[in-house]
């Protein structure tokens, strides 16, 4: 069975040398979707060890190519080793973020769990998760911030949890009157937290505390 051995990072992610940031992002998602642990495409095709190696290679490739300076150094290395033509450097520098194209449409069937797991390793996400869990009271806006930082769409959460998009929006927007009965809400919150890979028990408790506070003035 062939592995990614002897393939360079561009080949691993199936990208041309001049791929831009959004193409790299997309290729990484697609690779996780195919090689992720729960992917239907490769279900039981690889042993755990083989899959681990493949995912590690994909990760290395992504983290190198997604970082402009690491990528430049890597390109330099490829040219030195005679594995790439010097024209590799002709690629236009990325435009500033403001002018960058909109985030690509979410890949519908990607392995969401693997994606969130990967993203959660990023420093920014770790800090955000810790900040939210550090609070006694958790508001819908906190969950929304985390979801957006993880680049997860509401539709994708619906696909897995079957919690309707409008309910998720109401939870995120703290629309107290539109929320389902507490017994359902609690279970929705836990499912939602599981997707976002943040402690489900504490998320549910924190949010219910928020609701209790929010309802109080209304009663007066």
């Amino acid at each position: 069975m062939k592995t990614f051995e002897n393939q360079n990072y561009y080949e691993i992610l199936k990208l041309p040398f001049d791929a831009d940031a959004s193409a790299i992002q997309r290729a990484y998602r697609e690779a996780l979707e195919i090689y992720g642990e729960n992917s239907l495409v490769t279900y039981e095709l690889f042993s755990d060890e083989q899959r681990g190696d493949l995912l590690q290679a994909i990760d290395e490739a992504y983290h190198t190519l997604a970082d402009e300076s690491k990528r430049a150094a890597y390109n330099q290395m490829l040219v030195h080793a005679g594995l790439a033509d010097p024209s590799i450097f002709a690629r236009k520098a990325e435009k500033p973020a403001a002018a960058a194209p909109a985030r690509p449409a979410p890949v519908k069937h990607r392995d969401l769990q693997a994606w969130v797991k990967q993203k959660s390793k990023e420093e920014e996400i770790r800090q955000l998760t810790a900040e939210i869990l550090g609070k006694d009271i958790i508001a819908g806006s906190d969950l929304k911030r985390l979801r957006e930082a993880l680049e997860v769409e509401i539709g994708e959460i619906y696909e897995i949890t079957r919690i309707s998009a409008s309910t998720i929006r109401s939870i995120e927007a703290n629309q107290v009157n539109d929320l389902p009965a507490e017994v359902f809400l609690k279970s929705f919150l836990k499912s939602l937290a599981q997707i976002l890979q943040i402690d489900p028990q504490r998320t549910a408790e924190g949010y219910l505390k928020y609701l209790a506070l929010a309802k109080r003035p209304a009663k007066k």
Partner: protein, 306 residues
């Protein structure tokens, strides 16, 4: 020499017999002379799909030497140009076919005077099933878009791939160490990924030969019982991944749409694609036949029918 399409797939109930019968009927409708052989030894039911209650003759009469030629045990079906060889009356022990009988059968299949031969294989990865699958390099595996079916399909592919590797090694002048490794069936039996490494280490001159031989083995596959909410790119993704990680080429033939009327047509012993030719399912079948047997072979009228 006929074009042989073995139809396998590892898991039971994914529709191997249903697909064999319908592909056979559609190929026959296009003017090809087609023969369907039920090689699900011990689990035959292709005759039922074809609406034949008890076939007048069958494989048993060829294996016990009552008839010398495989053609003689074929029976006609109600579809013109479509013949059928049943294994219904084979003895209870038939699933464990003797090696010599298997070789004789495979040789006879390869010499059948038909345009297309479809072999309906049983579930599982028994080595007889694998050898029938490898009787041609156009094997088709059928699977459904479910983890269980995909798991068994991959196990089937790996088993067929490994058996092919071993065959290539035992029939050719490889280094003794390589040959010994290939024949080791014990608990330390090698996995398909090790054998190329062994060849590289002890027999680097044979590496390209081995790769070329495996490259000639093609895997084609069909995703059956395809429903609306399934990822429509699943087949293409499986193809891409397999082409990336196996040395053999993979080709995705297409989906076959799930239709709840299939059960009814099996119950009424009608072939679905002929009963509902306008259905999406029948259209899917025709698209697959377009790839496998596009049009009637022009030279076939000149072929002598003995």
């Amino acid at each position: 020499m006929p074009v042989i399409f073995p139809i396998g797939g590892g898991k039971g109930g994914v529709g191997k017999s249903f697909i064999s019968a319908n592909l056979g009927a559609l190929m026959a409708k296009r003017g090809h002379r087609v023969i369907l052989i039920d090689l699900d030894l011990g689990g035959s039911n292709l005759h039922t799909l074809l609406g034949i209650k008890s076939p007048a003759s069958g494989l048993d009469r060829f294996l016990d030497k009552t008839e010398n030629r495989l053609e003689q045990v074929a029976v006609p079906t109600h579809i013109s140009n479509l013949s059928f060889i049943s294994s219904l009356h084979c003895s209870m022990e038939i699933a464990n076919l003797y090696h010599a009988q298997k070789i004789k059968l495979i040789n006879a299949i390869q010499r059948l005077s038909y345009d297309c031969v479809l072999l309906d294989l049983g579930a599982g990865t028994h080595f007889n099933t694998l050898d029938f699958f490898l009787a041609s390099d156009r094997g088709i595996f059928v699977c459904t878009p479910e983890p269980t079916a995909i798991e068994n399909a991959f196990r089937f592919i790996k088993a067929a791939y490994l058996r092919k590797l071993k065959q290539v090694i035992s029939h050719n002048a490889f280094h003794k160490i390589v040959k010994d490794a290939a024949q080791d069936n014990g608990p330390q039996a090698l996995r398909y990924n090790d054998i190329v490494d062994i060849v590289l280490k002890y027999d680097p001159g044979m590496e390209m030969f081995l790769r070329d031989s495996i490259r000639r083995l093609q895997f084609k596959f069909i995703l059956n019982q395809f429903r609306k909410n399934t990822d429509s790119a699943l087949g293409e993704k499986i193809k891409t991944v397999c082409n990336r990680h196996f040395y053999s080429p993979f080709e995705f033939l297409g989906h076959i749409d799930y239709d709840e009327r299939v059960t009814d047509s099996i119950l009424s012993k009608n072939l679905f694609t002929l009963q509902f030719p306008e259905s999406k399912t029948a259209t899917d079948f025709r698209a697959i036949v377009d790839q496998l047997a596009p049009k009637r072979v022009a030279s076939h009228t000149t072929v002598k029918v003995p």
